[in-house]
């Protein structure tokens, strides 16, 4: 397999169990997964199906009970705590439903923070944060605290922060779960632009609107994958019919 075709992220027999004996729950049950570079993958399933646990395992926020996990050609399930923390800072980005921004820091400072934590200079952090806020359309809001921003704007700051250290992959857990319809469209537009620039995404969602715009949609039930669909289809020009204009 040459470098370009190699998956960015690979999981083999990934499993996560909680409790023991009779109370044993297998939240993630022997999952195999390959995510290609530049792919946007959406994972859907009912509450409690294990999709959030899965994304935490994939992103190194939690450790699997069993199985192998490969990121960018490197096995990561057996890394030390220290190496795993380093990987979370530099190789992966996270976007959460509740944004998880630091309330006392401005938008700019929130995006600078991970760059500083990765050991870069303040000057470099400022430059990077400036670029990213520009990219997410919030350059004019750089000096605002999160409390002065709308939900959609906060999530865009959180997305900028996730991209701060040029991660090889971005994980998003219900990124539009707290957003209204218009703000959802803002986030869809942003993901689409980043996807166009080659960013790889794994998104766990209840939102069919995000799922429909992904390259690939996985359905999950009881800790396992029950469907894996490649979503394709260009424009048919039949939009009018969806609104009842052709009858």
């Amino acid at each position: 397999m040459n470098e370009r075709d190699r998956p960015i992220l690979g999981a083999r027999g990934l499993r996560k169990e909680y409790g023991r004996q009779e109370g044993l729950v297998r939240a993630v049950d022997d999952i195999d997964l390959d995510v290609a570079a530049g792919e946007t993958l959406a994972i859907m399933g009912p509450s409690g199906c294990g999709k959030s646990t899965l994304i935490h395992l994939l992103g190194g926020l939690d450790r699997p009970s069993r199985g192998e996990l490969w990121l960018h050609g490197r096995r990561i399930d057996q890394l030390s705590e220290r190496a795993l923390a380093q990987l979370r800072r530099s190789d992966v980005g996270f976007v959460f439903q509740a944004y998880h921004l630091m309330d006392e820091l401005t938008a700019q400072e929130n995006v600078e923070l991970p760059v500083l934590l990765a050991g870069r200079s303040l000057r470099e952090a400022r430059r990077r944060a400036g670029e990213l806020l520009e990219q997410v359309g919030l350059a004019e809001r750089a000096k605002h605290l999160p409390s002065a921003l709308s939900g959609g704007q906060r999530q865009r700051v959180a997305i900028a922060r996730a991209l701060a250290n040029q991660p090889v992959i971005v994980f998003a857990d219900e990124p539009t779960g707290n957003l209204d319809s218009a703000a959802t469209l803002e986030v869809l537009r942003l993901f689409d632009a980043l996807h166009g620039a080659g960013q790889t995404f794994v998104i766990v969602t209840h939102d069919e609107r995000i799922a429909a715009t992904a390259d690939r949609l996985i359905s999950m039930r009881d800790g396992a994958f029950v469907g894996d669909t490649r979503l394709t289809g260009g424009m048919t020009g039949r939009l009018g019919a969806f609104a009842g204009l052709e009858r």
Partner: protein
């Protein structure tokens, strides 16, 4: 499209068919492509025969129907006012799909879950197309608002399909 739509678009000011068409295109954006070019003229002809619109100004030649200026008659104004106050809402035909699943399962002709899956793929494909079009619209465009409505309806339909799948899966495992 209902003739009342053409009638109401004319209420703003007396207009030529091409001006009406341009107004509809602005309101519908990419969805306007579904409309046949002659549609507005056919509707205007019908409305004229029904006495709801009348031609204004100098009689244009019959070869250039596009240059005729139409205006609402008093009856036309009345019909527009009536239409605006009507509560009409498109009815999604959920009963047909529901009965399809029941009939397929009862006769053992097809697996309801396969039917649901096929339907879901089609709706996801449509939702993808609608979202692509919505992303391309500028903020606060008229067409963007219509696309948002279509997206939200498709989302509701997909959620119902999810419930259908869950329900039919449970029935099968409890049999």
């Amino acid at each position: 499209m209902q003739q009342e739509v053409v009638l109401a678009m004319l209420a703003k000011e007396p207009s030529q068919g091409s001006q009406l068409r341009a107004r509809l295109d602005r309101a519908l954006g990419p969805l306007g492509e579904a409309m046949n070019d002659g549609h507005v003229y056919v509707q205007l002809g019908r409305l004229e025969r029904a006495g709801l619109v009348a031609r204004e100004g100098p009689a244009a030649s019959a070869d250039h129907p596009g240059r005729k200026v139409y205006a609402l008659t008093a009856a036309g104004h009345g019909r527009v006012a009536e239409w605006l106050s009507e509560v009409s809402w498109p009815k999604p035909d959920l009963a047909e799909f529901h009965l399809k699943l029941i009939a397929a399962a009862a006769a053992g002709l097809a697996d309801p879950i396969d039917i649901v899956d096929l339907q879901r793929r089609e709706l996801l494909r449509r939702l993808r197309e609608v979202e692509r079009a919505a992303m391309a619209e500028p903020d606060r465009s008229d067409a963007g608002l219509l696309l948002e409505g279509i997206a939200l309806r498709l989302q509701a339909d997909l959620r119902w399909l999810e419930a259908c799948e869950q329900n039919w899966t449970d029935r099968r495992s409890n049999r």
